[in-house]
Symmetry: C2
Subunit: 412 residues, 2 copies
């Protein structure tokens, strides 16, 4: 049909950095469209291993050789690896249609999506929040903290309580310390910042830290959007996330009573994606708070440069899933409709599997296992609840929680 | 949770006879629930090969050894093979909970579903229609035809035109001859029945034939239902099928204006499934015709003892798909809700792939490739159209047909 060959016609194999459940669900979508996936992952029995060949990180060159385009499901992938994969497609000029990736020669590489600069921002809380503010996207107040004195100053300026975080690493609530009281300051610094000398400076090289002011927020929402290689952006509705012990427990899609905030969230993610020349699915986590006039507003917390646990609902709950839209973007296809099909609730299964017959005897429950060993609080499966009659949605959640071994505080 | 171990807890690997697109889509569902699939199939690059190991029919014993339960996606599997696989689980008595399959010993076999007797009926049009009538299920009038004289008698009794068919084999309109006129009788007999001697009897052994009277019917519908190991039956809504050159072109789910026939169809399939002690998904093809009083009624045409092309819509279009319900039945899990999520149209892609970007630029289109080589009129992919606003459904079909290389007569 097309006179110029399009990337989606040249691409057969998508190389995915990481082989967890996100990679597995990306592969499910990619395979329906006709693509093969391979994974760079050091656990040979990872969830994605049932859907394509797994290469260890020692086999990076071999992995790179066997894929036509690259993407990631694990955001702590070294930026240098992504830069190298992106560079494989930059040395031929013909057919280039954006600034980080296209090569129309047969058998060559078609880019790394998202672009490495997005990863670099997402891996560093300080860079991330600084960029949000530079782009006019509101955040909680924050300060960079390089030594104990800066931490004390941050406590003075932001007030207590505040949260001290490592700017890099940390996951599911790890790498954080809540300072309630000035007496906690040195403990917090010792735990996250390194050993402290008499003058308050460092004796070892700590992770750079960020101090974030506490804000009143009513709930946490996230916006998931995908940007195509042609710059087209499609956003899902805002969804609402509830956590248990710092780990996502449920996502309600859409977030009820949040439509007045949709345009603000879409404006923020559009600005970010355009600035980063982003291609693929991006997640923006936000707090619903009040502005100076007491009106609802959003504060950006962080981005995930990938598909996200709060978007799993979209497999059944949206016309096109976050996984399929990510794959479409990576191979250069047009994006699909992100409307909700029906309201749904995604429930994570943490640590221990439920009895499958008990779960599946409840109508409207979709079960997705990750084929993982049980381990305390580990994400090993998720359920999407989408009964046809939305009036049954909360009752369905109630019935599901009753048969989950780890009830994540939802049975109170 | 359960005191007695349930089959779904013992089963890890499902052995599927056949490795085509039906096997592939069964595996997609099975893997989400945590099962592994293996396939018995002589084409090593079959559609299912991306989802599990493929054994050739020469490797039947090895295939049997590596699966815990068996099912099929190819109805022309030899009945003897199915009987042998079923027999593997019949020699231990303990834990038996129905008459064709259960064995609670670890590492043993958990049955063959559907049972071989269902396959035997489905493979023979004469046995099939005879059983329908025995069970009080209306069919077109038919006669067994073993020789030319019987064919002439059938023409007298049923009137012309009539359709002469082989009772075994035949697919997508092959193995059929429409006798319009008495002058066609000998040609039809020569084509399907074998060589004819002077006295009208056979000189070679023909396939047994069946002559079917022509009836006026307004449309073809199908009912897809699944029966669990506990006897529970869940039926999808009737769907409407349109063919092009004898091959399914589109399925509309639900069939519009057919709800007054739903109970009649469900009664027929319930009777059939119960009689056959069926476990799994069964498809019943029916014609919508008029009874003696001029009221709408259904005539049963044939069954497929498996998931069916007219049920592909259910992946997106129903709460639980025909594939997932089949897997649930095979492993002994409760069945899922079969309600429609939204009205949808399934469109087959025959012979030649469309430009993927053109197809996916249309909102509400779900693409499922079968990873097959292009070949005239071959089923190589299907599309499910389910725009969120049902008012756009026919327009979506129009837009899809515009970009399909093989328009299957839908652009007229």
């Amino acid at each position: 049909m097309s006179i110029t060959p399009q990337p989606y016609q040249h691409i057969q194999t998508i190389g995915i950095l990481g082989g967890g459940q996100l990679g597995m669900m990306l592969a499910e979508s990619a395979m329906q469209l006709g693509y093969t996936c391979i994974f760079l992952e050091d656990s040979p029995n990872c969830p994605a291993s049932r859907y394509g060949k797994v290469y260890s990180t020692q086999q990076l060159a071999d992995f790179a050789k066997h894929a036509d385009v690259f993407t990631l499901e694990f955001e702590n992938t070294p930026v240098k690896t992504c830069e190298w994969l992106a560079s494989l497609s930059q040395n031929v000029d013909s057919g280039s249609f954006n600034n980080h990736s296209f090569n129309s020669d047969d058998g060559k590489k078609f880019g790394m999506f998202p672009p490495p600069q997005a990863l670099e921002v997402a891996q560093d809380r300080l860079k991330e929040k600084t960029l949000f503010n530079q782009l006019g996207i509101a955040t909680v107040p924050f300060r960079a903290v390089d030594n104990l004195n800066e931490l004390k100053t941050a406590c003075d300026e932001l007030g207590l309580p505040l949260v001290l975080k490592t700017s890099r690493g940390g996951y599911d609530g790890k790498g954080q310390f809540v300072i309630q009281d000035r007496a906690d300051i040195e403990t917090a610094w010792r735990e996250l910042g390194g050993a402290v000398t008499g003058d308050g400076n460092l004796t070892s090289t700590p992770a750079p830290l960020i101090a974030e002011g506490f804000i009143d927020f009513s709930r946490e929402v996230s916006l998931i959007a995908t940007r195509g290689q042609d710059g087209q952006i499609r956003c899902f509705d805002l969804v609402e996330n509830d956590h248990h012990q710092g780990i996502l427990a449920t996502t309600r899609a859409p977030a009820v009573g949040a439509s007045h905030l949709q345009a603000l969230a879409e404006s923020a993610i559009t600005t970010l994606m355009t600035h980063l020349d982003y291609v693929g699915t991006l997640t923006l986590e936000l707090f619903v708070s009040k502005d100076g006039d007491g009106k609802d507003t959003l504060l950006a917390n962080e981005i995930a440069p990938r598909v996200h646990n709060s978007g799993h609902f979209s497999i059944e709950g949206a016309v096109t899933s976050q996984f399929e839209n990510h794959i479409r973007a990576v191979v250069g296809l047009p994006l699909g409709d992100t409307d909700n099909v029906h309201p749904s609730i995604m429930v994570n299964v943490l640590g221990e599997y439920p009895d499958l017959a008990e779960v599946l005897s409840i109508d409207g429950v979709h079960y997705h296992t990750y084929h993982k060993e049980e381990r305390e609080n580990r994400k090993i499966a998720h359920l999407t609840l989408m009964p046809n009659d939305v009036a049954n949605l909360e009752a369905t959640l109630h019935n599901v929680v009753a048969v989950l071994p780890n009830k994540m505080g939802l049975d109170a």
